[in-house]
């Protein structure tokens, strides 16, 4: 049997245990991935499934002491899903510039502050942009079917 020792274990840190954060944590834990979720409010962890097999940590994730308790140096992916865009951006910048974390994914409600994090290699998910894209594609599909029908009438 060959044991691969040097392979770095995937360890995901999720910040903010809201609907998005808790669902992601449940999903990753179901896939047997190492997960730690941080939230300021202990009660937020009730959203986690009973089967959740990862860790939880109560505290302010922008506090360097909390981050070191979370073993941030071993983290491979950080996902910031707090309800404050500014907190998410700051967390991403801390992760990138101070702890050199490879994958940093943040949720942003307002994509207006792009210039702040544009050149830092931070991946962003915006519900607004996603919705616009989705609705646009659906409208386009509607148009196509209308056009098809219209051309059908022509014949």
């Amino acid at each position: 049997m060959k044991v691969v020792k040097n392979r770095k274990m995937a360890y995901t840190l999720i910040i903010g245990c809201g609907r998005l954060g808790s669902s992601l944590a449940n999903e990753l834990s179901d896939r047997n991935s190492d997960v730690l979720i941080i939230d300021r409010d202990k009660d937020a962890f009730r959203k986690l499934a009973p089967s959740y097999g990862g860790l939880t940590l109560t505290g302010d994730a922008t506090d360097f002491n909390i981050l070191s308790i979370a073993h941030i140096k071993k983290v491979t992916t950080i996902i910031a899903t707090t309800d404050s865009d500014n907190t998410n951006i700051m967390l991403a910048q801390i992760a990138k510039t101070i702890f050199n974390i490879n994958r940093v994914i943040i949720r942003l409600f307002d994509p207006d502050r792009l210039c702040v994090y544009n050149d830092m290699g931070i991946e962003t998910i915006s519900p607004l942009l996603l919705s616009i894209k989705e609705i646009e594609t659906r409208i386009d599909i509607d148009k196509e079917t209308i056009n098809e029908k219209a051309s059908g009438f022509d014949r």
Partner: protein, 222 residues
């Protein structure tokens, strides 16, 4: 044209700072997120007040931040202050940005992100309290260089151990120098053979909190 200063957030700080910047010849614009408080701020003379969410780029644009010489982020949230300063720097090319900060551990991080000047309230307040508690009545102390360096004024009273000694005879800590001696109306830059007299005021420059040992050596107090 008048120099433009934009203050962002915090009712009390903005109000106090606006008045003092006004008197120094700045035109002040305040951005604040509470309409009623904005009305009160607008009563200050020659101040422009913008009501809106402080960290939104279009609100900053409304405040003409492009023309600002200095932008000061005063909100109580560290992350908001950081984003405000970054927006000012990267989007609006403001020359100088200043941010207040609650968490002293983030000072270096803020500088790294391009904020020109970071003022850590906790550090500033602890320094002042320290000065009041330890040195009260004896010396005046001005912290500088993010609190690492202190400029201290020490009066030499009759009976102080340093009276009558030449500078090189005094065993000062390595990180302290006597930068200036104020003697009555005149002030002189001392040399090794300058003698300290009672009634002198010494201006010390000290690094790494060594001033307390120097004060002990010079005055015998504390």
């Amino acid at each position: 044209m008048k120099k433009q200063a934009v203050l962002i957030g915090s009712f009390n700080r903005a109000r106090a700072l606006a008045k003092s910047l006004n008197s120094k010849g700045y035109h002040v614009t305040i951005i604040y997120n509470n309409y009623e408080k904005c009305k009160i701020l607008a009563e200050i003379e020659e101040v422009t007040v913008i009501y809106g969410e402080e960290t939104k780029p279009f609100v900053l644009e409304d405040a003409n931040i492009k023309d600002a010489d200095i932008a000061i982020a005063l909100t109580s949230k560290d992350e908001d202050n950081l984003i405000i300063c970054e927006l000012c720097k990267k989007k609006f090319n403001v020359k100088k940005t200043i941010s207040v900060l609650n968490d002293p551990l983030k000072t270096d991080f803020f500088y790294k992100m391009g904020v020109d000047s970071v003022i850590c309230e906790v550090n500033a307040i602890t320094n002042i309290i320290e000065q009041q508690a330890i040195y009260e009545g004896i010396v005046t102390m001005i912290p500088t260089g993010e609190g690492r360096i202190s400029i201290v004024e020490v009066p030499i009273l009759i009976g102080s151990p340093a009276v009558g000694k030449k500078l090189w005879e005094i065993n000062l800590p390595k990180d302290v120098i006597i930068g200036c001696i104020i003697r009555g109306e005149e002030s002189k830059i001392p040399r090794g053979d300058t003698r300290i007299l009672s009634g002198d005021k010494l201006i010390l420059i000290s690094a790494n909190k060594q001033e307390i040992y120097a004060i002990k050596e010079l005055t015998g107090q504390i």
